[in-house]
């Protein structure tokens, strides 16, 4: 079967397959080996749909067509409508700490193409992107008019959109849900460390290693188990590149248009969905010192790793050895 987005399997067992996609790694695990092929087909289809609608790195993507037509009502496809709904709900729920209108700031930092190309160019050119002090606040998602019922979006001129903060997690949620529905088995979908589970979990739950980088086990903080919802990690230690004024990374504070102050280097959060877990993890990095209170007030279990490697478990997250 043709899998245009996905690379060849990195790992393939009876119940699991890992492969490269979007310059990161996808992991698919099912509780029944007989369901793996069907689950993989569903996952491929979901990834293709998200890529065709939400990627700002594809000139033919639907989001780029929308961005080319500001100032008027645009009818969205069901997938982009779902992505916009999720992005704007997250913006509202995080008090605009996770805001899709950071597109210009992200690009100004040098993140103007797929991350692999950005990193490669930075290594070749020595440094790319604007100075981190040249950031400008994001226009603000509150300026966007979107009616999810009619799937109509009105984007003001000068307001760019980057769905990167939510689209990957949304893809994980949607893929897990449709796989569980189609196959009737328990499933885990991981996209670059954004994990969604659906269906009946295996005995003891889905065991997830919490790490700085989802691809390696060089520094695994602990292993936790979940049975439903999602778990996501945001980190400043990956998707980094050198700019004219130092290292930059992919997490932008919409209030300043710059990378947030370095308080936490990694935040892992569990929530009812991968989208919500990912939003909270990113908001925690942006909030810095205020993140523990913010997460605790919202009863979102989290593990925060500060820039020195110190760990802090919050709101019911099990204490790790480092956090104990």
């Amino acid at each position: 079967m043709s899998r245009p987005l996905a690379g060849p399997p990195l790992i393939r067992t009876a119940t699991r397959v890992d492969f490269d996609v979007w310059s990161t790694t996808a992991t698919l695990v099912v509780t029944d080996p007989d369901a793996l092929d069907a689950a993989l087909a569903e996952l491929d289809d979901e990834l293709a749909g998200i890529d065709a609608t939400c990627s700002r790195f594809r000139s033919d993507s639907e989001i780029n067509r929308v961005l080319a037509a500001p100032g008027r009502d645009v009818q969205l496809s069901p997938v982009l409508n779902a992505a916009m709904t999720a992005a704007l709900r997250v913006a509202d729920a995080t008090d605009y700490l996770v805001d899709p209108t950071v597109a210009a700031a992200v690009i100004a930092q040098g993140y103007d193409s797929d991350i692999a190309a950005v990193v490669a160019r930075a290594m070749t050119d020595g440094a790319i992107g604007a100075s981190t002090s040249a950031g400008r606040p994001a226009p603000g998602a509150w300026r966007i008019r979107h009616d999810p019922e009619s799937a109509v979006l009105h984007l003001p001129a000068g307001v760019g959109i980057d769905l990167g903060a939510t689209a990957k997690a949304l893809a994980a949620d949607r893929a897990a849900a449709r796989i569980a529905s189609a196959t009737g088995v328990g499933v885990l979908v991981g996209l670059g460390g954004d994990i969604a589970v659906a269906g009946d979990a295996p005995a003891g739950g889905w065991r997830i290693a919490i790490a700085e980088d989802h691809r390696g086990s060089a520094q695994t903080h602990q292993t936790v188990a979940i049975t439903a919802g999602g778990l996501a990690t945001s980190s400043t230690t990956v998707r980094r590149w050198r700019t004219s004024s130092g290292w930059a990374h992919h997490i932008i504070d919409p209030r300043t248009g710059e990378n947030p102050a370095p308080v936490w280097r990694t935040a892992s959060v569990a929530a009812a969905s991968c989208v919500d877990a990912n939003a909270a993890a990113t908001a925690a990095i942006v909030l810095g010192a205020d993140a523990p209170d913010w997460l605790t007030e919202r009863a979102l279990p989290a593990l925060l790793i500060d820039v020195t490697g110190g760990a802090r478990a919050l709101a019911g997250w099990p204490a790790s050895k480092a956090a104990a």
Binding site: V29, W142, P148, G205, E212, G229, T266, P301, A315
Partner: protein
């Protein structure tokens, strides 16, 4: 004044009292109806506003209060394209997990880390 004239005056007074009473009761009924209509209109406008909840109305960008009492995106941010303070209270919320993660061990099914 004769007895007959006194009776006529009494009847006139009673008629006048009845008219005033009817008028007061009618005015009260009309006022109640007006309040009811007003409440209904308020409820209707709230209902209309609710589909835009997730899209965070643009009123906050101008610093004005949003439409209706259940306005969205009532960020305390400053005007225009400048930053918001991040201290506003949105109408959406992140949903907590049904249960917190449990400590575990052994071979993991997947890893969650930066990507």
């Amino acid at each position: 004044m004769t007895q007959r004239n006194q009776n006529k005056t009494g009847q006139a007074l009673r008629r006048r009292v009845r008219l005033v009473t009817v008028g007061v009761v009618g005015a009260a009924a009309l006022a109640t109806a007006g309040v009811t209509v007003g409440l209904a209109q308020t409820a209707a406008s709230d209902t209309v506003a609710s589909p835009t909840v997730s899209s965070a109305t643009g009123s906050s960008a101008t610093g004005s209060s949003a439409t209706g009492s259940s306005s969205t995106g009532t960020t305390s941010g400053s005007t225009g394209t400048s930053s918001n303070s991040g201290t506003s209270s949105g109408t959406s919320s992140l949903t907590t997990a049904a249960s917190a993660p449990a400590a575990s061990g052994g071979q993991s099914h997947a890893s969650s880390g930066g990507s």
